[in-house]
């Protein structure tokens, strides 16, 4: 697995927010996707859109509840089509399966179409370590491979980079003159990669869906690189999470409607490629071997947990990232692992361990915008709350990781709030402190005494560093009610 940096979330998000270049890139791309998505919803009509979402959700619920059956059916049909299905329980096993195929078939060059699961496995360094040259062929992935970075968005991996960044990168890594014309840069990448497609022995792809009834692998792309990677080399390996299985081709149609519309606002992508087995005897081209590697790597933990199971319904469209006001501020890298944004804040803790990623579920205002745009109606806020509950209360000490101070504060808070009398006394005391401002040297009132400014006491200080806090009024509502308001009623 790639290096886990989820524990550095706070520091990484502070740095991200202070990066104006990142902000500009995020503003431009993510909000553009959302505007286009809204057009597609309007075009379908919100009622029909909602019916599509429910239909897709129902299919996902059914499939995940019967995952054993559909994986078995998929196995039967991949095999019947002449392919090989491999199950990998973790990243090491998945990487070893791919490495074994590469070694035994004497693979020298591999081209890859975009695959988030291969990022999750950190497959590229494993292949490189056995002497395989690996080329990312999705333009965004190619850019971040050259930059030796990781994706910052589920569908737009190089979203954090401006065209100037890319022009600089191309100039440095490819030894060409600096040219920030997007068309020229795309043409350069195309030229480099075209040769590699022809050279490659092995094509590696992800899968947006795998269809159990036919054993087919489905990928949707806009660049055609997926089709070249899966058909030109003599071996094709598809790698994906085991939750990507859907029952039938008929079920596929609803997902093909929802995924591009939700991801980029396109009605359909330029390419929808379906691969079933290797080339047959009467086919003119296509790979001699077809392998499908289905990865667990922590997914059974999600499956086993009824509160988090629906994270497995995700089709990785990225709509929740595009709408998320937190993602819009900090981008994808701050999340510290492969899957960013709201869905990443659920998936990453489940895959890398909640203790290591305990901040991710907290880093949300729970505004619910992600649930509203999710094409599968995944209730992300409810899962974030469940993860917070586990952090606070799990009997398993490997999971329960909320700081002791928070636990004490929560108990104090509930004791205070359990007694109106105690609460009144506390508020009265605070009011007294406020009146005799001199004995409260750590929180400063503004001149008009209406606001607290520049408090030095946390957590107040964390509020007043950029916002004022209203000072306590002379009376509480309870006081006013008792003095005058309660008697108004006849």
């Amino acid at each position: 697995m790639p290096e886990i940096k989820t524990q550095d979330f706070s520091a990484a998000s502070v740095a991200a927010i202070q990066n104006p270049k990142l902000r500009r890139a995020l503003d431009r791309v993510a909000s553009g996707f959302e505007v286009a998505r809204l057009d597609r919803v309007a075009e379908a009509t919100p009622e029909i859109w909602d019916a599509w979402r429910q239909q897709a959700r129902d299919i996902k619920i059914h499939t995940i509840e019967h995952l054993d059956y559909y994986l078995d059916l998929l196995y039967t049909n991949v095999t019947a089509a002449g392919g090989q299905l491999h199950f990998a329980k973790d990243a090491d096993q998945a990487n070893e399966i791919v490495a074994h195929i590469a070694r035994t078939r004497n693979v020298k060059v591999a081209t890859k179409s975009k695959s988030m699961v291969s990022e999750e496995l950190a497959l590229n360094p494993v292949l490189e370590s056995i002497g395989v040259e690996v080329w990312e062929t999705d333009l965004g992935e190619y850019i971040i491979q050259l930059a030796e970075e990781t994706p910052s968005h589920l569908v737009a991996p190089a979203l954090h980079k401006s065209k100037e960044d890319v022009a600089e990168l191309f100039s440095e890594k490819l030894g060409i003159p600096y040219d920030e014309d997007i068309y020229h840069m795309a043409a350069t990448a195309r030229e480099v990669l075209r040769d590699k497609f022809m050279e490659a022995d092995l094509g590696i792809s992800g899968a947006n869906f795998v269809v159990a009834e036919t054993g087919s692998l489905v990928i949707i792309t806009n660049e055609g690189n997926g089709r070249l990677s899966t058909s030109a080399p003599r071996i094709h390996i598809g790698i994906t999470g085991m939750e990507k299985v859907i029952p039938s081709m008929q079920d596929l149609s609803i997902f093909l409607r929802l995924l591009p519309r939700s991801a980029t606002g396109q009605r359909i992508t330029s390419y929808v490629s379906m691969t079933t087995g290797p080339r047959r005897s009467d086919d003119e081209d296509g790979p001699e071997e077809f392998h499908l590697v289905l990865v667990d790597n922590g997914r059974s933990r999600m499956l086993a947990d009824p509160a988090l199971r629906e994270a497995l319904y995700c089709i990785r469209c990225g709509a929740c990232l595009n709408i998320c006001p937190v993602y819009a501020r900090i981008g994808g890298h701050a999340y510290g692992w492969v899957y960013p944004g709201p869905i990443g804040a659920v998936v990453s803790p489940m895959l890398v361990g909640l203790k290591q990623a305990k901040e991710l579920p907290q880093a949300s205002s729970l505004c619910g915008a992600c649930r509203e745009v999710c094409p599968i109606k995944i209730d992300i806020p409810r899962m974030l709350l469940d993860l917070r509950k586990k952090t606070a209360e799990s009997p398993d000490l490997n999971i329960r990781s909320a700081p002791k101070s928070e636990r004490i504060l929560a108990s104090l808070f509930s004791s205070l709030m359990s007694s109106p009398r105690l609460l009144s006394t506390a508020v009265g005391f605070a009011n007294l402190l406020q009146k005799t401002e001199r004995i409260l040297p750590f929180s400063h009132l503004t001149k008009d005494r209406k606001w607290i400014r520049n408090s030095l006491v946390p957590p107040l200080s964390r509020w007043t560093r950029s916002r004022d806090l209203p000072a306590l009024p002379k009376q509480t509502f309870r006081d006013i009610w008792n003095k005058e308001l309660s008697r108004d009623d006849s």
Partner: protein, 250 residues
């Protein structure tokens, strides 16, 4: 006049209004009374438990939720001048007591009679026009739909309907209205840098709306936006919907 006399409603004032914005509670009571409602205030009420629920401390949240269940057991209606606290009672209590059939049944009864202020006016009292409560407002106003009100309770049209019918009030559109203001309870102090970023975007849009007053149905969100506006020296006022319907009493 559309109000139905003879309705009894208990006010769940919320801690933030009780302790920081008591006048909002006073306005809510006055408006309800003008509409013929007999208003009660169960005095043992404190916090609904949302801060501890949201941070994952569900045991502590249950302790507080049980108190709310007891305080409002005999209420005919419970009116909450906060989308967020109303959502806690209506939505989150059902999760909190999912494994306790007895308390779940009680929570469901409470949920069925609990309303956020604006939806109580429009959907229970059938107020179609804010002049029914004698409201007048001179000036320009923009409305921020708070997230829990909008997305947990699905209350979208009611506040706008009430606001637009206030004589003298001029509405101004708010860009990115449905984007969170960045409050999020403990989120605002756990990740102040992100929260500040969000509220900065929000108040920029508020300022660009050209409105003199920012209205919402949640004082917590208004405290966040108002605190940021004040720090920037802005003169834009923050008001709860109840204050506007009470003719902008301070």
């Amino acid at each position: 006049m559309t109000a139905t006399p003879g309705i009894r409603a208990d006010l769940y004032v919320t801690c933030i209004i009780d302790q920081l914005y008591p006048n909002v509670g006073v306005s809510a009571v006055k408006v309800l009374r003008r509409l013929g409602v007999t208003v009660g205030f169960p005095e043992g009420q404190t916090c609904c438990g949302q801060p501890v629920y949201n941070t994952g401390f569900q045991n502590q949240a249950r302790t507080l939720a049980k108190r709310v269940l007891a305080q409002f057991r005999d209420s005919e209606y419970v009116v909450v001048p906060s989308g967020s606290c109303a959502a806690t009672i209506r939505v989150f209590y059902l999760e909190l007591f999912a494994d306790d059939p007895e308390l779940l049944a009680e929570a469901k009864i409470l949920a069925s009679k609990t309303y956020e202020f604006s939806e109580f006016l429009v959907n229970v009292l059938n107020v179609q026009d804010a002049s029914a409560c004698g409201a007048v407002h001179k000036g320009t106003v923009t409305y921020h739909p708070s997230c829990h009100l909008l997305r947990e309770l699905g209350v979208k049209t009611e506040p706008a309907k009430l606001l637009s019918s206030v004589p003298g009030l001029e509405s101004r559109d708010l860009n990115g209205a449905e984007i969170c203001c960045g409050f999020g309870g403990t989120f605002s102090v756990k990740f102040p840098h992100i929260s500040e970023g969000m509220v900065t975007d929000k108040i920029t849009n508020v300022q660009n709306s050209g409105a003199e007053t920012l209205v919402a149905c949640d004082m917590s969100c208004l405290m966040n936006m108002g605190g940021a506006l004040n720090r920037q020296g802005s003169n834009i006022k923050i008001r709860h919907l109840a204050q506007i319907l009470d003719s902008d009493s301070d």
